[in-house]
Symmetry: C2
Subunit: 392 residues, 2 copies
């Protein structure tokens, strides 16, 4: 691979021709809650949506129309427009009709996140639209506008150079709770000028999603609104491997930001599962480790209670054998294929590792070649606080 | 059905010929931590064990020997004897050999609960055995001896009378965390004198278990040690329906006690799922509702956030349709087949219901005839506290 990936500023606006911004439409007490990403030209768009059967109205709207190109994305936080039935879709139509009186739009897309089961306040959104400066190029304002319980905005951009010339790629995401490998209340918007063929967009997006957003979990709940959008102006160069790698770096950065910002999380932990019978079985184990309440509370307590990890593996209904299993906290092996290596010294070292903000736990099943790395966080008092008090 | 079920005292010792007690063997600072249930005659025994692939040593010991009758159960708390390999089984053999020098035992069974991945302290257990008064009939001491994070002992007994004569049945259980529909760190011991045929014991136990212990969840984790034992002296009467009903009442009482005693739980909630395509799909939905962190924290916050319930149904990968779904908190319908019925008055009423210690949430999918009721609890700060600090 002869290409170089360099981080640059600008988020989604790092790509020429992309405008973005955010305003306060009155959903949040202060701070941005309504934003847009747009371009003057039509952009090819690929997308992935939640596997939740109750897909929110904005997702149904896009799927019903089979949108393939767009020049405008409108996004709001605080209301998911989910479980709102046909009225939810009509609300989107009315809002986008209003928007079309302000600026020329083609196949506009709306994207929402927030509380489920409440109709959108269209008037607030219209008033917010009135405030838009369509010529702003401020990715950060957009990133802020889509935040719900997020504590920081999630943005990244790269410039990629190689024999093929160069392209740029930028992304913005939100998500802090209701996050699960099946893509859950996270929204992600990626712009690029890579000249990627339309038929490869969807394929590459799906492939990269599997090892990035589908590898993270905050709480095991899969939302009604998860969406990842990839849009291109096609003005730059393109080479498949370079693009795939850059897209992976963008999505991995944003996915890990979501884990680090997990509601109440104090730690981000990578569960590196190897030696499973298949990749699928490795993924099941990794997912169960990231969602087990007993594992998550042990992480919070910085307790190297490897028995809970072993028990979670055993409960995963995958092929496993306690005489082949191996568990390590970073380089500290605590259980080695039937042998408990957990003297005071080992425990102390494992405990030290768990005090870190980020670390890896290795679980080798010793059965086959299947491998998958899942990313999770701990479960703290604050998770309970945030979610017990969210709506009221 | 012509029979009468009357609650009586005595727990497992309500049955004639059953002895039980508990002592402090030094695992707990104070309080009982080692106990026995025994009889002079051999008892037919049926059992169900965890689906966790890493079954603990005591379970492997019973399965390896294919035990069908026994006259002695030895149980300890604070150490699960799990992930301890062949040594874990040898430890059991040595302990039971020691026990056989104190009292005549036939096919003794050991049962353990506690921390995973630590060898049993055989000397402590032997010293505990030395303290046993084998002629005690004190079910309550045994119930205390198997408690881990439990805050109260779980016991029940009934006398059943009918045309067939009469029999008694008594049970003891433990469990407060790591509880999941697939039977998780819960131990349950049931004695009876019902003259149940050996071939019906296993069948009825399994059937009743499906709607009792397999219907509860505290945290979604399935332990290495879950066990339910049913033992009979065969000295009493028997009638299949009467026995099944009495067994169900015993197991349901103990299962609900476990939910009520869920680690840090402030509420016990029944999720009554109906109208699913099949019983299996109803069970999946009920299980997901009892394990969803967002639902559990909403219960703790007494927040009638029905959107989280809907989202969990949609994420369950079962046949469902938002235009057919109906959700109610007891008799307060909040979402009715496409219509959001959630004005201030409805919200206030639903909130009032959620303040109760116990209540029901009804979820009708409106698709088919499948029904299942799952029992769960809320997720509180104390759950995190108990589990973050458990081992250290």
């Amino acid at each position: 691979m002869k290409f170089r990936i360099t981080p640059i500023d600008g988020g989604v606006c790092a790509v020429d021709g992309i405008y973005a911004s955010g305003v306060n439409a009155g959903f949040k007490q202060d701070g941005y809650d309504l934003g847009f990403i747009r371009s003057d030209k039509e952009l090819d768009v690929a997308y992935l949506f939640t596997t939740n059967k109750f897909q929110a109205a904005p997702i149904k709207y896009v799927l019903n129309r089979g949108i393939k190109t767009t020049n405008f994305i409108l996004a709001n936080s605080k209301n998911a427009n989910a479980m709102t039935g046909d009225e939810g879709i009509k609300d989107i139509e009315e809002i986008l009709e209003f928007l079309s009186q302000k600026i020329s739009i083609k196949n506009p897309i709306m994207s929402s996140t927030g509380v489920i089961g409440v109709r959108l306040d269209k008037e607030k959104i219209k008033k917010g639209i009135e405030k838009f400066d369509f010529n702003e190029k401020n990715s950060n304002k957009f990133a802020k506008a889509i935040m719900t319980t997020d504590s920081f905005e999630k943005e990244i951009a790269f410039e990629v150079e190689g024999d093929f010339g160069k392209f740029r790629i930028g992304g913005v995401a939100k998500g802090a709770g209701m996050i699960n490998p099946a893509m859950a209340t996270m929204l992600c918007f990626i712009t690029t000028d890579a000249n990627i063929p339309q038929n490869e967009m969807q394929e590459i997006l799906k492939e990269v999603n599997e090892v990035t957003f589908n590898a993270i979990s905050v709480d095991g709940d899969t939302s009604t609104n998860d969406s990842v959008f990839l849009m291109t102006t096609r003005d730059g160069g393109y080479e498949r491997e370079a693009f795939k790698e850059a897209l992976k770096q963008v999505m991995q950065k944003l996915a890990l930001d979501i884990v680090k910002d997990g509601e109440g999380a104090t730690k981000a932990v990578a569960f590196v599962v190897t030696g499973a019978k298949s990749k699928e079985e490795a993924k099941i184990v990794a997912k169960n480790l990231t969602t087990s309440l007993l594992v998550k509370t042990a992480l919070f307590g910085e307790d190297p209670n490897w028995g809970r990890i072993a028990s979670t593996v055993g409960a995963s209904n995958v092929e496993c054998d306690e005489k082949r299993l191996k568990i390590a906290f970073e380089n500290i092996v605590v259980y080695d294929r039937g042998n408990i290596i957990f003297d005071e010294e080992t425990e102390r070292k494992a405990h030290e590792i768990m005090k870190r903000r980020e670390f890896k736990i290795y679980v080798d099943l010793g059965i086959g070649e299947g491998a998958f790395t899942g990313y999770g966080c701990d479960l703290s008092y604050d998770y309970v606080k945030i979610n017990a008090e969210y709506r009221t």
